[in-house]
């Protein structure tokens, strides 16, 4: 990497003004509470989501153990309901989405050549709101019973009449708080990607991960209001006796299903599009070829997002919406297989005739493609209403969703961790453990979920705490349970790999994979300010273009001196003042000060929700008291935030 940088000192640069993240006085817990650095917030998201992932996995293990044999009594039916509800809610909202946010936070600013996200404090606010919402949701296990109506929470099971306990309140308010976090995050990354790109980084040069993230943000912005309203109506029904889902008063529970799935189906693409973006970054790098059909990849991502809003009722074929609605939604659902298929062929096309190196990230990426194809094919099967009526609410659907979400999202996210871990930590993950991790993961994943296709078609309904021996699915269930234990073992290998590599892993170079995108042009881990100088982008795969212009059939490019040299010693920079060689006017890199106001705002939001939660045990008066307390915190936080010098 000869291209790295004229040292900053040659440019007459200087550094002013601590405090900084590397400052020893600025490393404690408080520094993490007040951090506004996108890299630190990314790590916070990763660690929290990892913990929730383990929690959700343990819930799944208990579910599998309960289903080990017919008429098992390991857990009660009530507990089983809570377990599958919390398993799904945790995995979707507290594990996969925030794992995506870890990468959005850490990688997007680096890939677009920015020094931070557009709104660093809003970013901190998203994280704190997310973590408080997640904790609130899980406290339900200790405070009066976890939610038990499924992650989809169908009305009118969720109304006060049929779910009198506080479980649904925790679920509803927890999701509402998480929704605020998602909305704030989506706004932030939308603006970041649209507005903070380095010079020359046009949209059609944007790294494909950023493209898929941008589309995800648009989905989040447009899909979340629907569930927000659905949950608000539910909240009003439960606390203020409105009639939205109350059948005796003319309310229609199907309204909830529409509101939920208008959000719920785009949500599926919110979970998978970032995964597709990660895989689209990894496959070219390990095939030593630019992504095949970049533009078509972008367009198909947009097409998926567009169609995502027109397929929601395929979750509701069993409702009986009538032949016309069923036909329309079946067609649009099958149509969405086209852009998805295009993506799969493009990944294969990228590998075709490439010199493929099967390092762990690539193994997981290829594993993603193969498992996602299986999940996609079963998806097309129940896009057809007659087939769906047979498969509906059976383990066949459970198999499908896990092939898409574990075989799809989780495998891609693991690929992303193996790929970007060197950049984030400065150390490589162990390759041998990584390969063990991959093979145990993909084998036990299939052992767990492949049999569920048969379990389902043989008629075992999902979300039922046990089954009879006469159904003839005992062996299949036992295979699944064994697989689940194996899968847990594989995740354990991953955790061991992360912790040992953090301490003993091989030191990573700045660019260990000969990467294509700008994050590999700066030190591992990156300095606080990311880029000493903002790079100028001349091509797609910007960093490849700078390193190997001849390979991309480009004219030789004069690379922007990025970081390196004395930049390392300025990692402590809070504010970096630099001058370009030919420029005598100093430009200023301004960094926002650490701030606790985002945390105050998040705490205010959570306080309001807690008042509603406590009203069951401590009476109605907690609602106004906590609402006022929370509002004071929130409004105080917003004003403190606004008047704080950014």
């Amino acid at each position: 990497m000869a291209v790295v940088s004229a040292p900053l000192s040659h440019a007459g640069g200087m550094v002013v003004a601590p405090p900084s993240l590397a400052d020893p006085a600025y490393q404690g817990l408080w520094s993490w509470v007040t951090t506004v650095d996108h890299k630190r917030i990314g790590i916070l998201y990763g660690v929290s989501a990892g913990a929730f992932f383990v929690l959700g996995g343990l819930e799944a293990l208990v579910i599998r153990l309960q289903l080990w044999q017919p008429d098992n009594t390991l857990v009660s039916a009530q507990m089983f309901n809570s377990l599958f509800t919390m398993h799904a809610t945790t995995m979707i909202f507290l594990a996969i989405m925030p794992l995506g946010l870890m990468f959005f936070n850490y990688i997007i600013p680096l890939q677009i050549g920015a020094r931070d996200v557009a709104f660093p404090r809003l970013n901190a606010f998203s994280y704190w709101t997310f973590i408080l919402g997640g904790i609130m949701l899980n406290l339900s296990f200790l405070l009066g019973g976890a939610p038990d109506a499924g992650w989809f929470g169908y009305a009118n099971l969720t109304t006060r009449t049929y779910s009198p306990g506080p479980g649904i309140d925790f679920w509803m308010l927890g999701l509402q708080v998480l929704g605020v976090a998602s909305l704030a995050g989506a706004l932030n990354f939308f603006v970041t990607i649209v507005n903070m790109r380095a010079p020359g980084l046009s949209f059609m040069r944007l790294p494909i991960f950023c493209w898929m993230s941008l589309i995800t943000m648009i989905l989040l912005l447009l899909a979340f209001p629907s569930i927000t309203v659905g949950l608000l109506l539910l909240m009003f029904d439960r606390f203020f006796n409105t009639n939205f889902y109350s059948v005796p008063h003319g309310g229609d529970p199907i309204l909830w299903q529409h509101l939920f799935w208008v959000f719920g189906h785009p949500e599926v693409y919110i979970l998978i599009l970032p995964a597709m973006g990660i895989v689209s970054e990894i496959i070219p790098v390990f095939s030593r070829k630019p992504l095949f059909g970049y533009a078509v990849m972008v367009y198909s991502g947009i097409a998926i997002a567009f169609l995502a809003f027109g397929v929601w009722a395929h979750h509701m074929f069993a409702v009986g919406l009538g032949p016309i609605a069923d036909a329309v939604f079946a067609s649009s659902t099958m149509l969405i297989a086209v852009p998805t298929g295009v993506k799969i062929f493009n990944w294969i096309g990228t590998m075709f005739k490439g010199s493929v190196a099967f390092k762990t990230p690539m193994l997981f990426a290829v594993g993603f493609i193969s498992m996602f194809i299986i999940g996609g094919v079963t998806g097309i099967m129940h896009a057809s209403p007659p087939a769906d009526l047979i498969q509906h609410d059976t383990y066949f659907i459970v198999a499908h969703i896990h092939y898409v979400l574990i075989g799809g999202s989780i495998m891609a996210l693991l690929a992303g961790v193996y790929y970007w871990f060197p950049k984030m930590s400065g150390r490589m993950l162990n390759e041998t453990l990584g390969k063990w991790n991959f093979w145990t993961f993909i084998i036990f994943f299939n052992v767990t979920f492949m049999p569920m296709h048969w379990t389902g078609l043989l008629g075992m309904p999902r979300r039922v705490y046990t089954y009879g021996a006469e159904l003839g699915v005992t062996t299949l269930n036992q295979i699944s349970t064994i697989g689940a234990i194996g899968l847990a073992f594989s995740v354990l290998l991953f955790v061991v790999n992360v912790f040992t590599s953090l301490r003993y892993g091989e030191i990573a170079s700045d660019d260990p994979w000969d990467g294509a995108t700008l994050e590999w042009s700066i030190p591992s881990p990156p300095p606080t300010y990311n880029f000493a100088r903002i790079p100028t982008v001349h091509s797609r795969d910007a960093w490849w273009g700078m390193k190997h212009p001849e390979r991309l059939h480009l004219d030789p490019i004069e690379p922007t001196p990025l970081a390196g040299g004395p930049a390392h010693s300025t990692e402590t920079a809070h504010t970096v003042v630099q001058t370009a060689p030919h420029d005598t006017t100093p430009s200023v890199i301004h960094f926002p000060s650490p701030s606790y106001w985002p945390f105050v705002c998040s705490a205010g939001l959570a306080t309001m929700a807690v008042g509603l939660l406590l009203s069951d045990s401590f009476g109605e008066m907690t609602i106004p008291i906590f609402a006022i307390l929370g509002l004071v915190l929130l409004i105080g936080g917003i004003y403190g935030w606004s008047y704080e010098p950014a």
Partner: protein, 215 residues
């Protein structure tokens, strides 16, 4: 948490570059040329469109499906609500005048027009409060029937938006009185204006769909 900037010269080179260089550029360079905050507001409004779209759709789905009275025709006072709708629409005009004042650097006029906008918003809110209490006295509550539930929820959330807007405008007026809102900060007024106009437009939709179109 603010930190006083203690200059620490790591690499002296020549004379230290001018420390009086502005620490924050008012309009940092962006890819689209639009300010980040303005883009954020547009994106938020797109999301808010879906929010009100969903609420309005809920109202429309449940229209004429109440099992008991009071029904909309019995209690709506369309001329009364037309006046308050007109007041809210008028506030969009004063908002535009406020923005044009700050863009021309006329700070006294800015305060007058911002204050007028907030005041008109308050009049609208007072009108809504009076309407709600009247309906309540005539027997319509959140839980009476589907009309009550959907009507109060939809118009209540719109009212909450207006309330937040009034708060925001009042804060800007205070900001201006403290001498901190000048010509170069016109973007702050522009963004508040975007929000305010959006809330107005939503009311046009609600007023038409809820009050004007007969059952």
């Amino acid at each position: 948490m603010t930190h006083t900037a203690v200059p620490v010269i790591v690499d002296s080179g020549a004379a230290p570059p001018a420390l009086e260089a502005p620490l924050e550029l008012e309009h940092p360079h962006t890819s689209t040329g639009q300010d980040n905050r303005k883009l954020l507001m547009w994106a938020f409004l797109a999301s808010d469109c879906m929010f009100f779209g969903t609420l309005i759709a809920t109202y429309m789905v449940y229209k004429n499906r109440s099992l008991t009275g009071p029904y909309p025709r019995e209690i709506f006072d369309v001329p009364y609500t037309s006046v308050s709708a007109f007041v809210l629409l008028l506030s969009s005009l004063t908002m535009v005048l406020a923005l044009s004042s700050i863009q021309r650097g006329e700070e006294r006029k800015l305060r007058i027009w911002l204050g007028a906008t907030a005041l008109l918003g308050c009049v609208f809110l007072a009108g809504q409060f009076y309407e709600f209490t009247t309906f309540y006295r005539e027997g319509l509550t959140l839980s009476t029937n589907l009309f009550g539930s959907t009507f109060f929820t939809l118009t209540g959330f719109h009212g909450t938006h207006v309330f937040i807007g009034v708060f925001w405008l009042a804060s800007l007026v205070v900001h201006s009185f403290r001498g901190k809102l000048h010509r170069e900060h016109s973007l702050l007024v522009e963004i508040a204006g975007l929000y305010w106009h959006f809330v107005d437009i939503v009311w046009i939709l609600i007023f038409t769909l809820v009050y004007l179109i007969p059952d």
